[in-house]
Amino acid sequence: MIHSLAWQVTVPLVLAFFAVFAWVALGAGDKADATAISQTSGRIRSWIFWVLVAVFLPIFGYTLRDLPYSVAAVAGGPPQVIKAIGHQWRWELSGTEVQVGKPVDFHITASDVNHGFGLYDPDLKLIAQAQAMPGYTNVLRHVFTRPGKYRVLCLEYCGLVHHGMLAEITASEAK
């Protein structure tokens, strides 16, 4: 899951920063030639810069290939469509039953203020989202991969009962 990957990448990098800063802090009381250190740090700076550039480029290439912003036609007939309208403080869904394995297009908007359409799986993991904005419709495509009860939570602060904006969607195997 992407959530775990984000954590697994963050922790070692943060720990690496801790280790370097701790090493420098512990040795700060010693004396060494400032010119030599400046030259070494210049080389390290260049090295870090180019390593980061070399790491970033393939990340861009990989992560920017498949963006969620446009939905293409799908084989095997039109996708299921569910209109989702955010109101203070409830979700109005045009349907709450979806089929596993078949693309579902959520047409998301809001009637009053900004809301956030957050789709949570049966284990309460966030698996997709889009903003619900008055005057605009965001189309979010999602393919449910397993049956169960999914929840829609509001992910954009919208006032007093923001935390109470919940809805349920049931995903079932195709008959």
């Binding site: 992407i2 370097v20 802090a25 700076r45 904005m133 605009y136 509001c154």
Partner: protein, 481 residues
């Protein structure tokens, strides 16, 4: 162009800086107490009704942004005034407008009940479902606008003084040395950072003033509407640039104070100049990473938001973090509270960049946006970065007034550092597990994280209490020094 020697700091200017910091010490402590109250409420250890939770959340957000700006503006002014002729009157005018604005903001929130979050996302201020009256929203918006006017004057004065001394934006940023082969000494770090902040904040405050004014009109004339997507773009451009500029102002303390402790001047190299010029452009264009889940925003803006988020990390890590480590490494430095806090602040900034950049990856943002991951990364570089910079500057002024560190100071440092990193780690863990941000009431599954986080938050508040008292008690001595 050889840089002129430092100008003397007039006593009124110094008193003004100390007044900024005294306000910062009190407000930081109060806002941290608000933050603790929210974590306790989410833990179900404190009975705080949702209506009050969201008021506290609104006050905490706007209060922290405003006080980070005020505290770091004191750092900028103190060191920039040694290089260019700033107006002491404008320094005081900004503080006066700040205090007037704060009164209006607090009245709107705690008397009127406004709870539209610090971002006042249009059209929520005008559509509260009867929870707050029109005047409460207007008081809040007007208060923020007045604070913005104060900072507008502050930065206009900086622009006047910098241009008066250096002649152009390019010369103040060291472009002749960077691009023109000019072998003379470039401007010092404080001038370069201040020029970047001045330029970007004049733009951000203007954008903020536009959307605040439009929102104010909308509160009283509902028929006057604004495009919601345009409003969001304006709000996040303003908010992103303004809060980022607090880091760029705060880091001036690192550039100025750590070298005095280590005995090694901060070298303004060509990578340093290039990094700051790149930052000037990138910080203005990177804000769309706040709108990655607004699918109707143009796709090129989403891509720009991701790419620039990554590249923005290069100057932070390759210039400031490496520069700090090189400045301190085997320099013979003897650690004290000021140098310790400033060193910690660079660590906090650098480590906060990691989860922030990850979150700006569009495919990650789709499952992390507006979860606790977001406060996780921004608390890392604001609490352990910006706040540590302000506290380090306060401690340095106190040390300059011949006060040494006590065992209590050293204990407060470690409690702040451990408590701060623990507190932010719990946010990130909650984000990993999809806990939404800005929820007054949490599901039972999320409570363990909230409770451990509340303990770390309490530790940070205790440390802040020591730092604030230490500074306030020493004010008279610092003013006289």
């Amino acid at each position: 162009m050889a840089d002129k020697p430092e100008l003397p700091l007039d006593p009124a200017g110094k008193r003004g800086v100390l007044a900024y910091l005294a306000v910062a010490a009190v407000v930081l402590l109060l806002m941290m107490l608000f933050g603790l109250a929210m974590r306790l409420a989410q833990s179900e250890w404190l009975g705080l009704e949702a209506v009050y939770f969201y008021q506290v959340m609104t006050a905490h957000g706007i209060g922290m942004v405003a006080i980070a700006a005020l505290g770091t503006a004191a750092i900028l002014w103190y060191f920039l005034a040694r290089r260019v002729r700033l107006s002491t009157g404008i320094l005081y005018a900004n503080l006066a407008l700040f205090l007037v604005g704060v009164v209006l903001v607090l009245a709107g929130i705690f008397i009127g009940g406004f709870a539209g979050a610090w971002t006042f996302l249009y059209p929520l201020p005008a559509k509260p479902m009867g929870i707050w009256p029109q005047w409460a929203a207007a008081s809040y918006l007007l208060g923020v606008l007045i604070v913005g006017v104060g900072f507008l004057l502050f930065y206009l004065d900086c622009a006047r003084a910098i241009l008066g001394r250096y002649g152009s934006l390019g010369r103040a940023l060291g472009w002749p040395q960077l691009f023109g082969g000019d072998a003379s000494e470039p401007p010092p770090p404080v001038v370069i950072a201040s020029t970047v902040v001045t330029f970007i904040n004049l733009l951000s405050i203007l954008a903020g003033a536009v959307i605040l004014t439009l929102s104010l009109i909308n509160v009283y004339v509902p028929g006057f509407t604004v495009d919601a997507l345009l409003a969001k773009n304006l709000i996040y451009f303003f908010g992103h640039v303004f809060i980022n500029s607090t880091i760029y102002m705060g880091v001036i303390a690192v550039y100025e104070i750590l070298p005095r402790a280590s005995g090694r001047p901060w070298k303004v190299s060509r990578p340093f100049l290039a990094g700051w010029s790149a930052t000037l452009l990138m910080v203005l264009a990177v804000y769309p990473h706040h709108l990655l889940m607004d699918f109707v925003n143009p796709t090129w803006m989403h891509v720009l938001g991701q790419v620039l988020s990554y590249t923005s990390s290069l100057p932070v890590i390759a210039v400031t973090a490496v520069g700090t480590l090189a400045n301190v490494h085997r320099s013979g430095l003897r650690w004290n509270l000021a140098s310790g806090l400033l060193f910690l602040s660079v660590l906090g900034w650098a480590t906060g960049v990691v989860p922030a950049v990850i979150d700006a990856t569009i495919v990650v943002n789709k499952v992390m946006h507006n979860t606790m991951w977001v406060p996780g990364h921004f608390h890392t570089y604001l609490l352990l970065g910006v706040v540590a910079m302000i506290l380090g500057f306060m401690a340095w002024l106190d040390e300059a007034a011949a006060r040494g560190d006590s065992a209590l100071d050293r204990a407060a440092f470690w409690v702040f550092a451990v408590g701060g990193f623990g507190f932010t780690a719990l946010f990130l863990l909650s984000g990993r597990d999809s806990v939404p941000r800005r929820w007054a009431v949490h599901l039972p599954e999320w409570l363990p994280y909230d409770r451990v986080a509340a303990c770390f938050a309490a530790a940070v508040v205790l440390a802040m209490l020591v730092f604030a008292l230490r500074f306030l008690i020493g004010l008279k001595r610092m003013a006289a020094a």
